[in-house]
Symmetry: C2
Subunit: 411 residues, 2 copies
């Protein structure tokens, strides 16, 4: 087997350099929301780095960027991907780490003067974060054929702009048809964005599946009455029903062990101290790695809400905002990741991805798996997002080892 | 006993005329927030009506308006009072009904050409609603000596204005010292603002006491983490703790039977669907007619919060916003109201006032009691506030009967 060397300093330098684009000196972190001027600046930098490595650069019609280190023959490439768009005041690692580690793998081949047995493509997918344009993971979803290109281009943003127009404006509406580069298999290296690896002092997460996600918005409508004059038995308190549902959801999560349930948004109307809320609007984020258990949780939520609404005499409206089935990643790739971690002497564990990633979209069209490294405090989407340099390099070495293993199978 | 006649059409006409001042054609109702231009217009109208009845009009330094129908001698007057300021998009009855019914009582004496055995003063107290300047019931509180005049005048409004300046501006900073007109006894006629009388098809509420009020604002601080990656056991979810507290408060109210518990305001931060709330801020409105039970409810809330905070690993901050002890009204006056209702053939019940009223402040310095009439649907502080004309006149007839009874005791 060829012994390749990871250029660690160069990888860390590129992570820092990309992280300076869109930096917010006032509030910390950096903001490179998809298809804004700062996203364009980040893309320009990435493409320049790809050209330095003499990769074949291609841009498709949804703005996904591909840089290919070409091997002889027409075989489908091994793809390493993630994204470089960000949320507001983001850390420097979410997405960017995976893309730049892909370049580091290609650089290892270049620096050793070795041509890989199969082409290696690094992909940076458009609009993974979904801050301005819904849905998130849009570029990889279009690439995988899960969303029509025209629908994606016609998406209106929270600021009223049309995605296709913004893509043109920043110069990243490419010519290539989405899905033209079909991966042989797909790898994504990412920070965990959760606390498990850190809590268990484990260096590498071997991600074997990814939770299904169900997002709902619930609107409870009751009657606004005077807090001092309305007996408890005559109340139709929308706020109480919302709070009781959140309380029950915690019980569901505790009893289940695998289901996660979160209410991140909650609003009362009229939001006056001595008025019983007429309306309460809240969100429910349910996740489970098993589709059947996720459906059970959704059904349980519906039952909770019906019972509470009937008892209190309020009405309900439930809107499904997002629904993704769980994804099981490719077992062979997961085994390879585990073997690489073991070979490199890194502690590791099998785990489920709690967050959504481009890998879940690409898993629709190719074998895919993910590698996680620890996130300090489990924090991401925040300027305080942090992973130690040594941990970042551990993850990149595992990625390089997995790639060389896959491209040079030991027989 | 002198037989006096209530001029019903005139009372209803004045309620309607006052209700047109500050009317909002767009959103319904009328808005006469204390010491605004529309409040001034309402005050001017009231004073004009007082002068039509040839009352002695006096304005004190906090802007309370007094109109006295003078009897021979220096005896303290029987006072009938309430307020004419309003909330935003209010009904026409809250407060105004009690003041104008007071004028109707004085008119009954005028029209009969009878001089009362004791002076009758109608009072319209400043800023009962407390929309722009806190605390509410301010004019009657200053009148009763419960708040220093200078403190009240120096109050800054939600719009940054100083109360004393606004009082000057609208021309209602009077010369009289607050409390100069000390009532012999005090009556207040008001819509119930609750659903009990309507639900029980009862015409008159004999208000024998008024609930104590405890307003608190609770701030829960936990950690904002990713909804998909943070196991339930590692969460410090401020939103969950807030919701669980609201759920427990409903149990407290149900178990108690007399305590009312309401959460009218609730806010999550950062209020993002897939982020566990870092902070939840909510209000608690506790009421009970018994001081000891109110204290028990407060203690219970504190215990609930402590237990929840400890279990979830979050911190708490509790701020007391308002605290009024329960008020027991004068038994003799309550008996008189009950006897008048009976004499007039009106169904009646003893009851507790759930809302705060000027009567609770005046009860500190004189025997006081209240008369309630039904509120359709229990609705007030809303353009849909409604009481049938016949019910309004029933209440005013009871008031007139009580006044003539008190001024001409049958022996």
């Amino acid at each position: 087997m060829i012994k390749l060397h990871l250029n660690g300093p160069k990888l860390l330098e590129q992570i820092r350099a990309l992280g300076e684009i869109g930096a917010d000196a006032q509030n910390g972190g950096r903001t490179r929301i998809a298809l804004t001027d700062t996203d364009k600046a980040g893309r320009d930098r990435l493409v320049a780095w790809m050209r330095e490595l003499e990769l074949e650069v291609a841009i498709d019609r949804i703005g996904n960027i591909f840089g290919t280190l070409r091997a002889p023959g027409d075989a489908a490439p091994l793809m390493i991907g993630s994204h470089i768009d960000s949320v507001t005041n983001a850390g420097a690692l979410d997405g960017c780490y995976g893309v730049l580690a892909g370049l580091a793998v290609q650089r290892a081949y270049r620096e050793a003067g070795v041509t890989p047995a199969r082409s290696i493509t690094v992909a940076a997918f458009s609009n993974e974060e979904g801050v301005r344009y819904q849905p998130d993971m849009m570029g990889s979803l279009v690439h995988a054929g899960g969303l029509a290109l025209q629908t994606a281009l016609d998406t209106l943003g929270t600021d009223g702009t049309r995605l296709g127009d913004e893509l043109q404006r920043i110069g990243y509406a490419g010519d290539m048809e989405p899905g033209a580069i079909m991966p042989h298999e797909y790898l994504e290296l990412h920070i965990e964005q959760g606390p498990l690896l850190e809590a268990e002092q484990t260096q590498i997460g071997v991600v074997e599946d990814l939770q299904g996600i169900s997002w709902q918005q619930v609107t409870v409508t009751g009657n606004a009455n005077h807090a001092g004059t309305t007996p408890t038995r005559l109340r139709h308190d929308a706020g109480f029903v919302a709070c009781a549902a959140v309380t029950e959801l915690r019980r569901l999560a505790r009893d289940s062990g695998t289901t996660l349930a979160t209410t991140g948004c909650m609003r009362f109307e009229p939001d006056v101290i001595n008025v019983i809320p007429r309306r309460a609007t809240f969100t429910v984020d349910l996740r489970d790695p098993d589709e059947q258990r996720l459906q059970q949780a959704e059904a349980h939520l519906a039952r909770i809400l019906r019972a509470l609404a009937e008892a209190e005499g309020v009405t309900l409206e439930t809107e499904q905002l997002v629904r993704f089935q769980p994804v099981t990643f490719d077992a062979t790739l997961a085994n390879t990741i585990e073997a690489s971690a073991r070979r490199l002497g890194l502690s590791h564990r099998r785990m489920t991805s709690g967050a959504g990633h481009d890998a879940q979209m690409i898993a629709r069209i190719a074998p895919a798996a993910m590698i996680f490294v620890p996130s300090q405090g489990g924090i991401s989407h925040n300027p305080r997002e942090h992973t130690d340099d040594a941990q970042l390099l551990d993850g990149a070495r595992v990625l390089l080892d997995v790639v060389t293993t896959r491209l040079n199978p030991t027989r």
